[in-house]
């Protein structure tokens, strides 16, 4: 019986001298995999126009009914997005989202991308609904390049060129 006790403590002792697998989470953050699906971002084109054209296909594809899109017509003088249509409202309920990435697949302009941000906690349910202001990347960064996974698979993305952009 004593022998078993020392055997167990010995294991503990051994691990004391190994490099720990855990990290000090808030201070140290573990990188995620490239294909990790975290919080969404709405991307822009290099010229600053929103990629989202308000087509609601993401909302149609969403199995959790987490996305709300209310489209509107672009002002030709000051367009929000290329073409006639843009999303006047774009909201994702993060409590509903199951991070399946179907919205990414459905998006004809690669506007919505599930990025690597995974720190999603809220003080109330209302703030779990991310609005377009929260989702849209600032004009000066993140120009919605083609996701690396698609490049690696040498697969053509759903063709943005076909929507007269």
């Amino acid at each position: 019986m004593i022998g078993a006790l020392f055997k167990g403590l010995g294991t503990t002792l051994r691990y004391l001298f190994r490099k720990p697998v855990t990290v000090e989470y808030p201070e140290v953050k573990r990188p995620v995999r490239e294909r990790f699906r975290g919080r969404h971002q709405l991307k822009r084109f290099a010229n600053g126009l929103e990629r989202c054209i308000g087509c609601s296909l993401c909302a149609a594809a969403c199995p959790a009914d987490a996305i709300l899109v209310v489209p509107a017509e672009n002002d030709p003088a000051a367009p929000n997005s290329p073409g006639e249509r843009y999303a006047a409202r774009y909201e994702i309920n993060m409590l509903r989202c199951i991070f399946c990435g179907y919205c990414e697949d459905a998006c004809p302009t690669n506007a919505i991308v599930l990025e690597h941000q995974y720190e999603l906690s809220f003080y109330d349910r209302r703030s779990s609904i991310l609005t377009k202001d929260d989702l849209l990347v600032p004009p000066d960064k993140g120009h919605g390049e083609i996701p690396p996974i698609l490049e690696r698979l040498n697969r053509r993305p759903s063709p943005p060129a076909q929507i007269d952009l």
Binding site: I53, G54, C55, S56, L57, A59, A60, V70, P71, A72, E73, G83, E84, R85, P108, T109, A161, Q162, I163, D164
Partner: protein, 923 residues
């Protein structure tokens, strides 16, 4: 027509000769893809999408006999040696059609590849996406890859407005000409056409203002791509997100079956719902684009109570207590006859029924009307209840053998969809006679047009009667069985000849004779009368009734009279008994109520959904003389501003109910959203008032005392005890009111919500979802086609007497040589038009003059004209219409037209002079 038997993809079908292959294939359940073909339009074979292999029996050129092969069956040969367009190829005996062979598939793929060479494929931003035949057929039949380079596509400037309401995206257009053919053939507004050639071929509007048609919205429904979209629905939502709610258009007596397509609680668009008895798959623009008032921010949200000079918001309890106390006080100290009620003929049946019940049973006042009492308003002379078109009438089946008389009506303005219905009858071989003092759009239909002297329409009707008598065209059998007073009528007409009657009306005698013969000899006869006929008065309506009776066109399906009485539910208002003569005791008419109010005999009023001050500002004085006025409306109308209590109500989107249309078809509409601002339905407002009155001790009349007079009650339903609970005013839902209507109102026995919902039947889509196949969108009708209720004439024992008499000649007054007639306008700019895209089309007040009259008065188009009658005068800008007869002045009855100041009656004699602007003179 003889039937033809043919084989389509191995299935044997028998169809009438003359059917085209696409239709025949639909019978066999085979879907041949089409773009330009539409079952409601004539085939043109433009898109070549319906190419199929057609094999016909080989004919020996020498013997002209069918060649029989070794197996004993006819040898088949490919027709013309190539593929044939199915939509323009009629079926033939022994034909074999193959729609799935590699050759056909190759042609379909090639055709779609070609169509897509100039299609932008912007489906994600296209409003048609999701209900687009091009999308559907490309997925089903098209190639997966295109060999054409995207950069080679033709690009046009994105949408150009084809009119205020319709946008054209020329890149998306596949030039099928459905819209052009709809406008030319069905709507009779040939305002669209093709321009340029080759790849620059495009649709243009040829009218000014552009796309000037009241049916333009329908082109977006039948457009097989997203080329035509409505300004009203552009980028509002994707079609798969919409929740279509069955509804009924509340704008005119046609009562089109529509869907309110909602997203959450917002109205996104209005779509037609198929109902071949009412509107087929069409609706007019007023119904499609004139529904934005539902979400107007100007809607009343809570009851308003007058405190001093201002109307201040109050709770329902406060308002109801005040209403009950005041009405009860007036009733106690001045008697029930000092109370009066006006209810709009636009309200649903449930509201009207409880409104009259509140008055007859609780307040015990007989003073009820559904008119505004404006001086120009005509007396409602109603033939719909007695001689209305028979139960089972279906205008969309009528054609050859049908004669229609349209008397004193402008269907395009009063009930627009009837233009399509009547044009359809004519297109199928029917006979149409239009009797009207001024030109209307129906004149463009191949029709016999009798342009009468204004006010003399009665003489035309009498001339028609005289021709029937003279030429012995009377339906002797029907007259002998069911009509009294033929000898008296003959005696009354003895001193008049056809020629003299025609001369009195200023119409050609041979035309009148032709019309009489056509009407008498037709197997189906329908008379439609409208606002001008009502203005002319009882003599004309009596003569029209006699016309229907003498020719035997009454009491059977597809025969009878269709009255177009102003108001979407005027038929229902009359049936529910919202008119002074309906009860046992005769009450005051609207016009008498205003006099009584001024004289202090009428002390309290409830006005529901009506705005008499708008049409007749003089009424304001009478309203101010009242002790207490309750107005129930959606908006703070001019009338409501004079009220002591204003009660908000829900629109048709926020409640359910039924409407009765001009052909007495009762149709149900469903609640599309939670009531806007939690406003109650109109019937519930009446119920709340009644309950408050009962709670302060008002004793209601015995159930028998409340009644509909001529609409005799079914006494069995009132047997002791059975209906006591109904008189407790404990209606929970509209269906409870409808159930009571079914037991109490004559003819409505079969109109409970259960039975209205049961009247489904497969409609023009011979196959399930055929509409989806042709138009991409579905007009599916899940809520039934409604129930048509019987007219008196449908009872084979009902007897009628002839009442036509010759009126005195119209006196010509040299002081006032012109006749002023208020002309109805669909786009009248009234409460319904709030926030609508139709606002630019609203008719501004003006006068229409004949060109010669204008020349005599030295009036140029747009200059001001002063009109003077016995009642007063008004100044309006003039417009000139060359086709208008001399001496007639039309004043469109629109919002802001100062007609009540001038009119002495429906027909007003006026003097007219060019108006000299005094402000200019003094300067």
């Amino acid at each position: 027509m003889p039937d033809v038997t043919l084989v389509i993809d191995g299935q044997t079908v028998t169809v009438p000769a003359g059917t085209n292959i696409v239709d025949a294939a639909r019978v066999a359940g085979v879907a041949i893809p089409v773009f330009c073909y539409h079952p409601k339009l004539k085939p043109v074979g433009m898109c070549r999408m319906c190419l199929v292999e057609v094999w016909t029996p080989k004919i020996d050129p020498v013997t002209r006999q069918v060649v029989i092969g070794e197996d004993g069956r006819p040898v088949l040969a490919l027709m013309m040696g190539k593929l044939q367009p199915g939509c323009v190829t009629p079926v033939g005996e022994g034909m074999e059609v193959r729609t799935t062979t590699p050759k056909v598939r190759f042609a379909q793929k090639g055709q779609l590849e070609f169509l897509l060479t100039s299609h932008p494929l912007d489906c994600p931003v296209c409003d048609k996406g999701g209900e687009c035949p091009l999308q559907n057929l490309t997925m089903q039949f098209g190639p997966s890859m295109s060999r054409f380079d995207y950069d080679d596509k033709i690009h046009f400037e994105k949408p150009i407005p084809l009119g205020d309401l319709i946008y054209l995206d020329r890149e998306r257009c596949i030039l099928c000409s459905r819209c052009v053919r709809f406008q030319d053939d069905l709507a009779g507004d040939p305002v669209l056409g093709f321009d340029n050639r080759g790849r620059a071929w495009e649709i243009i509007s040829q009218s000014d203002p552009p796309f000037d048609s009241k049916f333009s919205g329908n082109t977006t429904d039948i457009c097989p791509v997203g080329a035509l979209t409505t300004a009203d629905f552009r980028f509002r939502a994707r079609v798969w997100e919409l929740r279509p709610t069955p509804s009924i258009c509340p704008h005119c007596p046609v009562g089109c079956t529509i869907s309110l397509d909602m997203r959450y609680d917002r109205l996104m668009r209005v779509m037609p719902r198929e109902n071949e008895y009412v509107n087929d798959i069409w609706i007019c623009d007023k119904g499609r684009f004139g529904m934005r008032f539902i979400e107007s921010p100007e809607r009343l949200r809570q009851p308003l109570v007058r405190k001093g000079d201002a109307l201040t918001p109050a709770t329902w309890d406060e308002a109801m207590t005040l209403v009950a106390e005041k009405l009860n006080a007036i009733r106690t100290h001045a008697g029930a006859a000092a109370l009066g009620g006006l209810a709009s003929p636009d309200l649903p049946n449930e509201d009207l029924y409880l409104f009259q019940k509140l008055f007859r049973q609780v307040l015990r006042s007989p003073n009820l009307d559904c008119c505004t009492g404006a001086p120009g308003e005509s007396e409602i002379v109603d033939l719909g209840a007695t001689l209305g078109v028979g139960k089972g009438t279906n205008l969309s089946n009528l054609g050859a053998g049908t004669a229609v008389l349209v008397v004193g009506a402008d269907p395009e303005e009063e009930a627009p969809l009837y233009v399509l219905r009547l044009r359809g009858i004519v297109a199928r071989g029917g006979d149409l006679t239009v009797i009207n003092p001024y030109p209307t759009k129906l004149d463009r239909t191949p029709a016999r047009v009798l342009r009468t002297r204004a006010g003399a329409e009665t003489f035309v009707a009498l001339a028609l009667l005289k021709v029937l008598i003279e030429e012995n065209l009377i339906a002797a059998d029907f007259v002998a069985r069911r009509v009294q007073g033929l000898d008296d009528l003959k005696a009354r007409l003895r001193n008049h000849s056809v020629a003299s009657l025609c001369e009195a009306a200023d119409v050609a005698e041979d035309e009148v004779r032709a019309a009489a013969r056509a009407f008498a000899q037709a197997s189906n006869g329908i008379i439609m009368y409208g606002r001008v006929a009502l203005a002319v008065g009882t003599d004309l309506i009596d003569a029209l009734a006699d016309l229907a009776l003498l020719t035997g066109h009454a009491g059977s399906p597809n025969n009878g009279i269709i009255p177009l009485i102003p108001g979407a539910n005027a038929r229902g208002a009359l049936d529910m008994g919202v008119y002074p003569g309906a009860g046992k005791k005769r009450g005051l008419k609207a016009r008498e109520m205003w006099t009584a109010a001024r004289e202090g005999r009428l002390r309290g009023m409830i006005i529901a959904g009506m705005d008499p001050v708008r049409d007749n500002p003089a009424v304001a004085e009478a309203l101010d003389a009242l002790e207490f006025l309750v107005v129930q409306d959606m908006f703070l109308t001019e009338t409501a501003q004079h009220a002591d209590v204003v009660l908000p109500t829900a629109s048709i989107a926020g409640r359910e109910g039924t409407f009765t249309n001009a052909e007495r078809r009762v149709q149900r509409f469903r609640q599309a959203r939670i009531p806007e601002y939690n406003t109650p339905a109109g019937w519930d407002v009446a119920q709340r008032i009644a309950r408050s009155l009962l709670s302060i001790g008002v004793k209601p009349a015995a159930p028998d005392g409340q009644g509909n007079g001529s609409n005799a009650q079914r006494t069995s339903a009132n047997a002791a005890g059975a209906t006591v609970s109904l008189d407790q005013w404990d209606y929970v839902v509209a269906g409870d009111v409808a159930d009571e209507i079914a037991t109490r109102v004559r003819g409505y026995a079969d109109t409970t919500y259960e039975s209205l919902g049961l009247t489904r039947k497969p409609q023009w889509g011979r196959q399930p979802n055929e509409a989806v196949f042709y138009d991409g969108t579905s007009y599916e009708n899940t809520e039934g086609v409604g129930v048509q209720i019987a007219a008196d004439a449908d009872n084979p024992k009902a007897m009628f007497s002839l009442r036509a008499r010759v009126p005195s000649q119209i006196d010509i007054n040299s002081d006032r040589p012109y006749m002023l007639l208020a002309a109805p306008r669909a786009y009248d700019g009234r409460a319904w038009s709030r926030d609508s895209k139709l606002l630019p089309r609203m008719v501004a007040p003006h006068l229409l003059l004949n060109a010669e009259d204008a020349a005599v008065l030295d009036v140029a188009p747009g200059s001001l004209v002063r009109i003077v009658s016995e009642a007063g005068s008004a100044v309006l800008p003039a417009q000139i219409d060359r086709r208008l007869p001399r001496g007639l002045v039309l004043a469109p009855d629109v919002n802001g037209a100062p007609l009540s100041a001038v009119q002495t009656g429906p027909l007003t004699r006026i003097a007219m002079m060019a108006h000299i602007d005094e402000t200019v003179e003094t300067r």
